[in-house]
């Protein structure tokens, strides 16, 4: 009960304290001459945010780079041994391979699926309902999605009634189908984990593509149709090129999502049966092996993989600023 009270106090007190801080700081600024007031004021407003970001993002990121060349407790410098381990052991290589599979398949399926569903839904009257249904899983945690899909993949030996949807559907549809324990063996387990991830995220891509499709001028497509172009050609040669920037934005977001994927693997297989990804491997290094250096090296590999994404984001920011 004490913790709940504390939470209530924090809920009301922290925003109130921040208001008091701003008002008090502005009163103090009011006593200064115009020039120092102008110079100081932005920093007063920025300070709380910058402090949090410095402590929880900037310093930790730099410190992780330093820790990645240190030993299990962070005490002694050991060169690149952690990276050699991260890139050399069998477990780590499997995690690396799976992360690459996630990057390619998850990103591709979310982008392709979202575009496909949005383009098809645009042609029917119940488009909002379709978008609503595929967007619904976005509200759920990967933990809940993990339980949902683990249940879909549930296996009972042949002969017993199947209670998992996948084995039941395949058993009914495919003659002579033998039910399988999907999650215990590669390559199916990783592919089916990715399917659960795609189920969760496709709604995001669908909504973004639907908005972009609405912005495509109808006259251009209409003119092409009058000239005798079929639906598919109109889509491929007119609509698709116009969706380039949107596709790029969705793909970057999905690359980051795929890189840091953790929950769905942790909940459904705990990384067993060769389903580990970099993030679960890192969790293992940190909390099971208790090796700070190795955990940090894996984190740096993740970070390095996001650098191109950061560059893309920055370029887009600069372009938007220039357009303003």
């Amino acid at each position: 009960m004490g913790t709940l009270l504390l939470a209530a106090i924090a809920l009301a007190g922290a925003p109130a304290a921040s208001v008091v801080y701003i008002v008090a700081a502005e009163l103090a600024l009011g006593r200064l001459a115009v020039r120092p007031r102008r110079a100081l004021r932005p920093w007063v407003w920025l300070a709380p945010a910058l402090a949090f970001v410095a402590v929880f993002l900037v310093y930790p990121t730099l410190d992780t780079v330093v820790l990645s060349v240190r030993d299990a407790t962070g005490a002694a410098w050991i060169g690149l041994a952690n990276y050699a381990f991260a890139l050399g052991s069998r477990d780590a290589l499997i995690a690396l391979r799976n992360t690459v599979i996630w990057l390619v398949l998850f990103t591709g399926l979310v982008v392709g699926g979202g575009l496909g569903i949005a383009a098809l839904a645009e042609r029917v009257r119940y488009d909002a309902a379709v978008r609503g249904i595929v967007f619904l899983p976005m509200a759920l945690s990967f933990t809940a999605a993990g339980v949902i899909w683990k249940f879909v993949y549930e296996f009972r030996p042949a002969g017993a009634p199947q209670i998992g949807l996948l084995n039941a559907v395949l058993g009914a549809a495919v003659p002579g189908f033998e039910p399988r324990a999907w999650l215990v063996g590669p390559p199916w387990n990783t592919l089916l984990l990715i399917a659960a991830g795609v189920w969760t995220w496709v709604g995001f891509a669908t909504v973004v593509f639907a908005a972009a499709l609405k912005a495509v001028p109808a006259e251009i497509a209409e003119a092409a149709r009058v000239d005798g172009a079929g639906e598919w050609r109109v889509f491929r040669q007119i609509t698709l090129p116009l969706l380039g920037p949107t596709t790029g934005a969705v793909a970057t977001a999905m690359v980051i999502t795929a890189l840091k994927v953790f929950d769905v693997v942790y909940v459904m297989t705990s990384g067993n049966f060769d389903t580990d990804v970099l993030a679960t491997r890192m969790y293992h290094a940190l909390f099971v092996d208790q090796h700070l250096g190795r955990a940090a090296a894996l984190a740096v590999i993740l970070l390095a993989a996001t650098v191109p994404v950061m560059a893309v984001n920055l370029r887009r920011l600069r372009r938007e600023a220039a357009a303003r």
Binding site: T3, P48, V53, V58, I117, F204, T252, L286
Partner: protein
């Protein structure tokens, strides 16, 4: 002819709809069936022998600790949503309407931090929180989630606040309002839609988080939020699906309520937030 040509489109969309809904319906149905039924037959056969019970929910909420988990999730997510919003709005106001040296570079830093995977911060933040004696406590999560949520919040609010009409802010200044008055009386009320979307995103993000809670709370049941409790049940219950489905549904109840009641804000918030780490 037209109907026939359109048939594949309808077929694909109905299949997609079914594939997206069936797993959720299966979860809900199973959570309401008696344990022996769930283990013996598929949930889609429920109409052949309809039998429903709330016993699974009673069990998970008390014996399996999900009642406590629900309160903990609430106690973690509410402050972790309230704390960063105002702080981000202050910074966004400064970025949008004040001139200072290094403004472009600092904002570019925020955009870069958007892409930093949370995992990169895990080890050092854990060491900081341990040194401060905060591991295993709610304040650890409030502070960490505030830090993790800020770049996105600052980024989105800056874009929104920067798009407010300059004459509104100018006329407030002419009326003699200081920066604080202008912010609280003009900027913040006008930014309500952006703040609402952001609040929904941040709340759901924290509510659905597993990794941060698992790492900084250390899995103690008394402080564990729903996600951590459920992840634990998945390994301890194995195929006790009558309980696992009920447990998952307890964690989904609040997000689903938000989804159905605040859909426009919700969609905007989640779409904007998808770029987060």
């Amino acid at each position: 002819m037209r109907v026939l040509r359109r048939a594949p489109v309808h077929l694909v969309l109905w299949l997609v709809g079914a594939a997206w809904l069936a797993p959720v319906v299966g979860l809900l149905v199973s959570s309401l069936r008696p344990a022996p039924d769930v283990a013996a037959s598929g949930w889609w056969t429920v109409l052949r022998h309809p039998a429903f019970t709330l016993a699974n929910y009673r069990d998970v909420l008390t014996a399996q600790g999900l009642g406590v988990g629900f309160l903990n999730s609430m106690a973690i997510a509410a402050p972790a949503t309230a704390i960063p919003l105002l702080i981000a709005a202050y910074a966004a106001y400064a970025f949008a309407w004040m001139a200072f040296p290094g403004r472009g570079a600092l904002f570019a830093l925020m955009v870069m931090l958007l892409a930093v995977p949370l995992q990169t911060t895990l080890v050092p933040v854990l060491r900081l929180l341990t040194a401060a004696g905060l591991t295993g406590t709610f304040p650890a999560l409030w502070l960490a989630h505030t830090g993790y949520g800020l770049p996105l919040a600052v980024f989105l609010l800056r874009n929104f606040i920067g798009g407010l009409p300059p004459d509104v802010l100018d006329s407030a200044a002419i009326d003699g309002a200081g920066a604080a008055q202008t912010f609280f009386r003009v900027v913040l009320p006008l930014s309500r839609p952006a703040v609402a979307s952001l609040a929904i995103f941040q709340f759901l993000w924290v509510w659905n988080d597993l990794l941060v809670a698992l790492s900084y709370l250390g899995g103690r049941p008394s402080v564990a939020p729903l996600t951590v409790t459920i992840a634990g049940l998945v390994s301890s219950l194995g195929s006790g699906w009558h309980l696992l489905t009920a447990a998952a549904f307890v964690s989904m109840a609040l997000p689903l309520a938000v989804f159905f009641s605040l859909q426009p804000y919700f969609v905007r918030g989640l779409v904007a937030g998808a770029v987060k780490d």
